[in-house]
Symmetry: C2
Subunit: 404 residues, 2 copies
Amino acid sequence: MFKINDNYLKLPGSYLFSNIGKKVNAFTSANPDKKIIRLGIGDVTLPLAPKVIDTLHSAVDEMGSAASFKGYAPDLGYEFLRQAIATNDYKARGVEIALDEIFISDGAKSDSGNIGDIFAVDNKIAVCDPVYPVYVDTNVMAGRTGEYNVETERWSNVIYMPCTEATGFAPELPSQTPDIIYLCFPNNPTGATLNKAELQKWVDYALKVGAVIVYDAAYEAYISEEDVPHTIYECEGAKECSIEIRSFSKNAGFTGTRLGFTVIPKELKSGDTMLNSLWARRHGTKFNGAPYIIQKAGEAIYTEEGKAQTRQQVEYYMNNAKIIRDGLAAAGYSVSGGVNAPYIWLKTPDKMTSWEFFDYLLNEANVVGTPGSGFGPSGEGYFRLTAFGTYENTLEAMERIKAL
Amino acid sequence: MFKINDNYLKLPGSYLFSNIGKKVNAFTSANPDKKIIRLGIGDVTLPLAPKVIDTLHSAVDEMGSAASFKGYAPDLGYEFLRQAIATNDYKARGVEIALDEIFISDGAKSDSGNIGDIFAVDNKIAVCDPVYPVYVDTNVMAGRTGEYNVETERWSNVIYMPCTEATGFAPELPSQTPDIIYLCFPNNPTGATLNKAELQKWVDYALKVGAVIVYDAAYEAYISEEDVPHTIYECEGAKECSIEIRSFSKNAGFTGTRLGFTVIPKELKSGDTMLNSLWARRHGTKFNGAPYIIQKAGEAIYTEEGKAQTRQQVEYYMNNAKIIRDGLAAAGYSVSGGVNAPYIWLKTPDKMTSWEFFDYLLNEANVVGTPGSGFGPSGEGYFRLTAFGTYENTLEAMERIKAL
């Protein structure tokens, strides 16, 4: 008789966005004349850049002719894309990454979920709280997290690193020793980041305790301040302890186009075993590559035109972020994020819970955001707004909030 | 100190295609004037159908305009594609599959590798021998297979079902009871298939012993005989015991375009738990969908034009298969497959090993195929040729083999 992986049964329901949807639908039904502005989810809205569109068209044409048709891609991804990444994302920042240390994938969500495959079940993970739910949920599925406590909303075998006002929304080194540390900077959901000295402290810590850092740099393109590292490999020793996950979703609007990559330097070892080899084996056995036309589109982002056009998109969203930050501050809110990230993290006023503030904002301003408690217990009393709306809607949302 | 998943270290090297590559390179260097014909790997060569190309272009245009731009896809995949699948692949064959029983993915390799996630580690798998290596290797990674015996080329905790001349290249019901049974029909590598009564026998067996069948139907489009089921759900009771995995790689040439899907009927349960819910959770947590433009291309395959054009591609390859079958038979070989599958499975002459025959064919006819032993010990003494070359090359390869 076959047996299921009953770790799946331990997962609490994933109701955050469905609850938001239900509340918004109920409000819309009751108030069909009201115009809702959605600043809740982390999905982009600007169309793909013209250079990306042109490249997709020409790659499609290649697929229509026998002479230029492409079948299965190389296991690690096309060299043209890995070369563009090595040159532009790493060499340009003084970091040497070899082509066979880069693995092209269909996105950061898959990679950050699948990376657990190459680790033993009996590793202890540490995560920020609040946190992107995929890190924890995929470790629950793998049986790494112990038991869930509904009261505390915490797993018995997970080390939580609170990121609150008291810690400047950044994690502090944990008192218990973890084996795998998930870090995401610039951060989703808080928009916080670490400067180079702060990130170096994490690398030093990981090297000292023998932990591996899974570094999610999906929002790297939004960094605007000088001292914030764009890759963890800017830190000394990071190659011996860090895996870096990157995405094209937010820097080039690829949420519906699907492309990302993971870097595993050959220096990262367990005994004599390179983690690079383990991931190469997984990548070659359980994945068959991102589509050729999408990999070509990825390469186009690194051309001069592609860089300029995607930079413009990021600037458009970051202008929205500034409008939200300034608007909320003017309205008297305590606000962080939005400087190196498309996420603005605000403290709910008058000790409202995150959900109370959600209802208040929906009912009074017809603006939809995301309750901070949806990202973990330390998110309670906070609220996330995103910069991915249109300029006009973002302005209007702030006018409404200021008028409350 | 972090620990790796040391099941990965048990995996023997995956040298089949790299060994073939080395031998071919060595031959080419020594014989630069000889024209090599490759009938070895299972990759398609015809360009994408015109209807697919047109659809890709128009979907790319949609992504270039704010009004029609698409971000994150629905978790299960776009409804337009799931509807086309439900209607054309199932309803047209008398099978009712609900839209939320279909999960769009980036391909059958990912799905057949990842499906193991929803099962406990202590399930015993049964596989055909010879077999597509992904089924076994991904179970090795999950820790399900016990220890590898280099002599027998077998894992201690895997049930092997030999598919040899004696069994008509189809598996017989195993004497040990498995929990998960991997079946691929039409088969890679042997090209064999099961008729409906034979497949029904497997479904009945799975229901009797409480096993789940993972049914890989990637080559369904190549079925030419009346009595061969196109989906396992044509068999009575299959919904209670079977997961079906499909691919667009071979029916529409999507090996480099990446699209597939998995069907998990809600009737398939472990106790009260629907496997459909477990896979939905995995799909939503560790995957972010196939690209919108690729899903649109998938839908195009189900239009009248798309069907006619992809049918033509399959017929082109099946004509090659016939040329290979007939050619080999005329040359005195014992041959099977190639009637309902793009793979031709031949018995090596004069008791040559699979690799001896590989060398013989490479040196004497300058034709590259795949040694049967690369797919498992029961493949020893056999050899796989594929129908995915050009018509002209296929003809010439057969002329050369007949002249040996």
